[in-house]
Symmetry: C4
Subunit: 202 residues, 4 copies
């Protein structure tokens, strides 16, 4: 239960930041929010805050199917609550227009691959056990990759963030499949590459 | 006594930064100031620099009532001194107008909840003992959450910062209750959530 | 083999960031990308992602000639693939005009010296063994030095990045010698200074 | 000798960054440069790169008078060389006008106090031994405090940087006393406060 509360709190603040951050530093603010929530919650739940990361961790063999499903529910519910609060604070947004859905799908897939690849290596690998940089690495992956693919796909890197963005009307509901498909495939591919590259690290 | 001097120095520089920082990176400068003062003073006083954090640490059971009261005095006096120095350097500001005090109260409560939640988890939890990221996590929480709620409430996240901002006339005295009430309730709630989620960590 | 895959992935994302990042934070985004890929891959390949760094590590005696050659191939191939993907996403760029090639050569040499000097000291020196800051230090060297020499030379600090920038047409092919010569000499000099300054650290 | 070479390299890159950095992130670039040079050189020389820091470390009892004098020479010579290189790259600057030299003196004193206070606590105190954040803390102190006092005094926080800025004509020679007096007093005061607050840490 405390794991699910931790996932709820972390995902809530991540989606809140996606809705409230503004200005030139928007993506840095979002990445910093993820970083601090990972440092705060990692010791309890592993601090996924992202269904694609949970899928990657499940494939890598560090959580059970039941845990993964519980995490997914907590993440999506947190995203919904955060999005409603954003709407209360500042009203709904105008949806971003995706120029090319194929490019958007590839962009989300690649960026989420990077995110899950970093997560698995800094938070679950033997070779980096006990480090103090896991939150910095993961949060700044969202800053770096989110900034790069933002103009192409919106830069969600996270199906729960995409759900929240649809509820805020920052994303169009008709595009949500891009994030469900792209992010989950990206996360799954990262897990396969990790297992291939770390065959002796069960 | 050395704890009170440390709290005075850290809070002084935090409030100074809230008054002197300017430009696009204003909130990043404030968060960085908090980060460096936490890394410098954490080993002596725990580096609260914030009456709401002190309240949270007191409820969590990591300081006595007497210590908490001493910390509060040091923090508010430091804020006053820093604000007077800011007025000497650049004159008084024009107070920010709060459009909606209910939204401002909720924003400060939620943002300070996040701050105290991060503090308790990275600086007082068994599961993160000996880490090298506590200052980064706490300082960047102020950057991230302060940026998000800044347009709504001013983004103090700290009753001592709010007092300093009133003395600088950056906040209106008639709004100071927002920060006293919102930040202290946010800090207290974070302590309750922490205790629930870490029942075996006394 | 897993080392080469790791070098490929890290260099791929570094060159992708050099092509896709935009706005005021462009060089910070690139430095952050390098940082997270170093934290993710350092435990497997040492996370060079840069032929000049591989040269420095080879001279310092921490990899064999065969390994270095394999790393170079992986890095240049990754740069090529990333550049083609950038062209798919946003089309080719307009090449930067280098005003003064002598200044550009000196700038790349000095900046890459700084980068390789930092790498050798934070990732291969006895005195910093087991630290949690190596990725932060190296990534932010690219941010700091790349920002400084960017207006003079483009700020590649890396022959593979320069190759990718030529394929994207962000750099002119006629200038690629600047990066091959400047960066490799800078990296080699850093290795010599390191060995002189750390004579007892074989 | 290797200590002096390390001080020369670190101060050289710090002063180079003060001359070459430009744009909205100027002070962040300078702070990042200091951070990476501290992470690279701390294990050899202690990474002062600043005569005011060397004075503070001397008063705190962690270096001898002879070492301190050698460090000062290396730091000032490095600043001179870096400033000449900046002039080669981009020509001389137009000197900043200091509106109020009293305010500038107080600003440099307070900001350098903060810098030396952070250095002594994160790099020489028993309570923070073995941490991985010392470079981050010190580099970001220059970013945070330099940004705050920049409009008042130029934000050198370092007599060697001030010398370099005079050679680049970014500062006026007639104002150099502000930095010699203000920074050195700030550093000395920090050492006294540190010794008072850490009486049992010789």
């Amino acid at each position: 239960m405390k794991k699910l509360i931790t996932e709820f709190i972390g995902t809530f603040f991540l989606v809140l930041s996606a809705g409230l951050a503004s200005g030139d530093l928007t993506v840095l603010i979002i990445g910093a929010t993820l970083m601090v929530m990972i440092f705060a919650g990692g010791h309890i739940s592993g601090a996924h805050y992202n269904p694609a990361v949970t899928l990657a961790v499940f494939i890598r063999g560090r959580c059970t199917l039941n845990e993964a499903l519980g995490y997914w529910v907590a993440q999506f519910v947190a995203a919904l609550v955060a999005a409603l609060l954003v709407n209360y604070f500042k009203g709904e947004s105008t949806p971003m227009v995706i120029q090319d859905t194929t490019k958007a799908l590839i962009a989300e897939l690649i960026a989420t691959f990077a995110l899950a690849y970093v997560v698995l290596n800094v938070a679950t690998a033997k070779g980096t056990t006990g480090n103090s940089f896991y939150g910095l690495a993961i949060g700044f992956t969202v800053f770096a990759l989110g900034s790069q693919v933002g103009p192409i796909s919106g830069g969600a890197l996270n199906p729960a963030v995409a759900l929240g963005a649809c509820v805020m009307k920052a994303f169009d509901w008709s595009n949500i499949w891009i994030y469900l498909v792209g992010c989950l495939i990206g996360g799954a591919l990262a897990a396969l590459v990790f297992k291939m590259n770390n065959a002796d690290d069960k």
